[in-house]
Every structure is written in C-alpha cells, then in structure tokens.
Symmetry: C2
Subunit: 355 residues, 2 copies
C-alpha cells in the first residue's frame, strides 16, 4: 500500500532522491567506494559541497554579496549562532514571538544582548502571526520564524520592519519565492523541504558580519566557515549530499516558483475541506494559515477513534498533532504530492458521510 507521509519533519523526500541516496551509500560516482567512506577533501565530495552551495544561491536568487554554508547543530544552535554573529556587544535586537521555536530563539539570544520582544501570540496558544511594534532606534535586526510547524501558522510574506531581517526558515525554505535583499541572515534546518536531518543551511550577507566587537568561538563564527568554503571541519557528508539531490530535484521541477504553485494547490485543498466539513475546525487564524502545516481538530471528539482508523487504513502516516496543540496536523512539504492531500480530504469526507 502506498504510504502518504504527512510527517512534520524529518519528512517526505522525493522518491528519486531516496533511490539515488541509497545507491550512493553503496557506490558513489562509480568509485567503488561508498559516499560515506571517502574523504571530504576528495574532489568528488568537494564538488558536492560546491554544487549544493551554488544551487541554494540559484534557487533562492540570492544577491551576489551572500554566502551559503552547510553546517551542523540544527536551528537550535542557529538561535545562538545568529545572535553571536549579528548582535553587537551591548546591542539590541527585536524578536517576534510566534511559536515554540521563536521562544527558543529569544531565550538563546538573551544570553548575548538586549532582546526586545516586539510582538507575541503566546497568550492565544500561538494561533496566529502577531502584529508587532516597529523596532526602536539602534536595533540591529528583527528576527522572526517564517513558519511555525507546531501551530500551523506562517508569515504571509516578508515583514516590513525598517531594520535588517534575520529569519529561521527551517520549515518553509524553498516553499515560496521571496526577495532576500532585506535579510542579513536566513537559516534553516534541512529536514523539511531541503533534505534529511543533520545539516543546517546558513545564507547571509557577508557585509553584515564581523561588527559585533565579540570574539566568536570558531565553530560559531560564520565568517570562519565561509573562509573555508563550508569545510572548516568535516561536514556532514551524507546529509549534504542528500540535500544536493533534493536541490537538483527542485531545479528539475520548476524551481521554487513551481514548488509554491504546488504548495498553494495542496493547502487550498485541505483548508477548503476544513472550512466546509462541519466535523472539522482549524487551529490557526485564517489569515495566519501555513501552506506547510495545516492544524485542525474534530468538532466532535467522540469521532476520533473512527477518524484515526479511517486515515490509517488509507495509508496516511504522521497526521497526529503536536502535543501542545492536539488534534491533527497535515504537513505538506514540497515532496508531498497533491494526491496525498486528496486522499486525506477523501477520508475527511468519508467520515462526514458516515453521519
């Protein structure tokens, strides 16, 4: 039976990416060696790293002044790294608190400077993207989480803040086009639209770096990594390679604009059903809804057992909501086909038709 993988992350990857990744674990580039047993300094792997960095620049249409790195530690280390590289000693930054990951970013940044939380939707269990106050004078950047996986909310576009932007785009990078010019830094764990768990992408304006007055530990210094072409130390070889395969897949399938079209079609399908079907209601405010993660619940909890049986027997996997929201969450990352969303909608309608 075909499995419809709605997992929130790590999540579905294109089948051709998985096939090619598995093959490379056995024999990479016909070398007679596995991808994971060759030197990261070999010309075969250096080519992987360079192509992956270039593909990000191309797919995101990054300005010339941007550098791209593939590092480790996930966005969780990124929260600290972002402030370490961009928040001057004694300086100030503005943060929007739109969910669990935003709150974690704020916690880490507070270790390094004055953090002004300019807007928060915490009081309503993060059911929407909050309005926020204009950052005060002297604010180095505004940080936000573009998509909130847990709550199913998403900034509808790039916010206007009057200061440079820093964004954790872990769960919607490559899902829609945007202009990178207002950003000093974009970072994203790979394990949603980009690849497997184990690498985190940093894209940053190199001119914005080096102004904190702080001595930065080597691994946390983005300029150190950039100076070594993202090979300051041994990179996570397999995660970077599978990320490259996924970036190639995006390029071969119309790039980010085409991903966006597919994603909008998928989210329109599920949200239309959530709004139409009296058995379901959404968690997120309508104007904050995410194209990546649709959060919803049954209006009649007594039907939960039956609904769970129906979607499980339809081959749907990973639909349970996060414990802080409950209900269900349909994660519809780039690699999820429209067909899988249609299968879920069919199940929702089947439940309704049972009366």
């Amino acid at each position: 039976m075909k499995i419809h993988n709605f997992s929130a992350g790590p999540c579905i990857l294109p089948p051709e990416v998985l096939n090619e990744a598995a093959a490379a674990v056995n024999d990479f580039n016909g070398l007679g060696l596995s991808l994971i047993e060759i030197s990261h300094r070999s010309k075969d792997f250096v080519a992987v790293m360079e192509e992956a960095r270039s593909a990000v620049k191309e797919l995101l249409n990054l300005p010339e002044r941007f550098d791209v790195l593939f590092l480790q530690g996930g966005a969780s280390l990124g929260f600290y790294t972002a402030a370490m590289n961009l928040l001057p000693e004694g300086g100030k930054a503005a943060y929007v608190d739109s969910g669990t990951w935003s709150a974690k970013a704020i916690k880490e940044a507070k270790l390094l400077g004055n953090i002004d939380v300019v807007g928060s939707s915490k009081a309503t269990n993060y059911d929407g993207i909050p309005a926020f106050n204009a950052p005060e004078a002297g604010t180095s950047y505004l940080h936000y989480t573009s998509n909130n996986t847990i709550f199913g909310t998403q900034f509808s576009g790039t916010p206007e803040a009057g200061v440079p932007l820093v964004a954790d785009m872990s769960s919607d990078i490559f899902s829609r086009t945007f202009d990178a010019n207002p950003f000093h830094l974009i970072y994203a764990g790979a394990q949603k639209n980009m690849g497997p768990a184990g690498t985190v992408m940093y894209a940053f304006d190199r001119e914005a770096m080096g102004h904190t007055g702080r001595t930065i530990p080597s691994y946390l210094d983005l300029t150190v990594h950039a100076g070594k072409d993202s090979m300051f130390n041994t990179p996570p070889v397999f995660p970077v390679y599978v990320t490259l395969l996924t970036l190639r897949w995006m390029k071969a399938n119309g790039g980010v604009a085409a991903m966006q079209q597919r994603n909008e079609a998928k989210s329109a399908l599920i949200y239309t059903e959530i709004d139409r079907n009296p058995l379901f209601e959404g968690h997120a405010q309508v104007d904050s809804r995410s194209h990546m993660n649709a959060t919803f619940r049954l209006t009649d909890e007594s039907k939960a057992e039956r609904f769970d049986a129906l979607w499980q027997s339809a081959g749907i996997s990973g639909l349970k909501g996060h414990r802080s929201v409950g209900g269900y969450r349909a994660s519809m990352y780039n690699a999820l086909p429209l067909e899988s969303v249609q299968t879920l909608v069919d199940v929702m309608q089947a439940l309704e038709s049972e009366g």
Copy 2:
C-alpha cells in the same frame, strides 16, 4: 578490483554496515518509508538512539554514572563545548599540545579560562607525544588528544595526571580498551572508527557537570541534551543509525578487545616493514607511534612516482600524507582488514625488489 581504503577519515566502514545503511535509506524496518523521512520521535528511531547510546556504554564499559550523547558539530565544536561545561568561570585547565587538533582545542578553551599548556611537541613538528608537567593545584582537568591523525602519534595509554581527564578520542575511540574512570569527558567525531561524518559522541561523568558557574547556551549544555535523552533537537538521523550499525558490528566481532588485537596486528605489519625496508622511514618517534595512522616517507624521493603508480595499481586509495607532514599515511581503522595492510606491504617490497 578490490579497493584498499586507507583514507584518514571519513574512512572505511564494514561492508555489511554499508549494505544495511543503503537498504534503510530505501525502506527502514519494513515501514515502507525511508529511515530519513520518518520522525525522529517515532518509536523506530527512538529505539535506534537508545540502542546506540547503550552500545557505547557496553563497548567502552563505562561506569554507571556516565551519560552518552550523539550530537552535532564534530570535535571542532567539542573543543569549545568541553571547556564550556567543565572549566569554571575564572578557572584553570591543563592541555597537552600533541598536534593540530590539540592546538585547536587549546585555542577554543582559551576563550573561556586560563589554559596551561603543560607539554608540547610542536617544535619537532609533532613527531611524538610530549612529556608534560604535573598540573598545578586548582586545575580542573587535563585535556589531551589520544591519537593525532595527521602526525601518526598516539598516547600509549591513559596518561596519569592527578586531575580528572578530558580527551578528544576522535581517531582512536573503540580501537583499544581503557578504563573510563579517570575521565570527566570523552568526545569523538564519528567518522573514523564509529561511523560516518555528521555526529559526535560525548561520554561524560554526569556528576562532573554543572559546576562552572556559567550560563551555558542550550545546544552547548551537555546536561540539557542528557535530560532529553540526546533528543533535545532533531538528531542527525542517518549518521546516528550508521553509527549504531557499526557499534553492532563491533559487538558481533568480539568488541573493543578484539578490535585492539586486529589493530595491533595491522600496525605491527606496517611498522615492521617501515623499519626493515631501506626505502622507507617513519615520521613519528617509535615510542609514540599510532596504531591507527602510520606516517612514513621514502628515503629517496626520486622513487615517489614509481611508488605512487605501484600502490595505485594495487587498488590502494587514500595513502597520501597530510600536507603538514608530507609523504604517506596509512590509516588503519577498525574496519580495515589485515589483507589491505598486507597489500601495502607487498607493494613496498615490490618497490624495493626493483632495486
């Protein structure tokens, strides 16, 4: 042709590990899903992480008070993390400078306290393990690099220092038995004897943690990770899984004591030839020689082209020395069969017999 993979790291892994890893990328545990597209919170992956942590405890015979984690950032982030967790504010630690990686560890630790370099072999291009002075009173720990991949030197055993030990064992973990009791922390990048690049193992005495008086960023706080069973954030799923497969392979093949026997046989074979064959000389002092990485050079450089042709045509790969030493380096990690070392020795003898 069979390839004899002498790569310094990432390096050779057992063929059965590579086969099983490739299969899991296609379908993991018969789930119909790839290992890399399932949730790290799924019971299938939680079981992987738990078994991997337990296998380390068993293979290293760690005391009950030790915790084991699989994190990211390699030993390069470990240099800073070690000091962050163990060097008190205003405190002092002793470091032995036995190679490039030791020097890097010292550089990062100096950001956090007073570092006393108690011994160094830098003046002789790190050709041996230096003698070192007893740490002064008030020293929190002595840090050393157990094996120096680049220079082919290795501590012959656990040093006696009179203070707790911290060791970067990236390139000889699981290669020989040792008593973990004198250690506060052992850390090791996976990509030599343990698995593929992309995860780093920390094994530490939990009672030694939490005494620095410092607020530690979450990702760098080993107690934060331990409190979340090494799942504080999304772990590097594939590197951890392949590490588990390699740990299972070690257990099935006699454990660390058996690895040590094989490694001693391999290193005896190559060093005997280096010492016997007038065409070759070793880089490392004899009493500092590494069982993992044998560094050597031709006594007559004019034979380099011929020697290179010979070993390449014998299927030997990854034999070039690091640029800071030159010559050749035969890395003989756990998964390298004795047969591969014999092939290299045969080639060295073939060169000699050409006169």
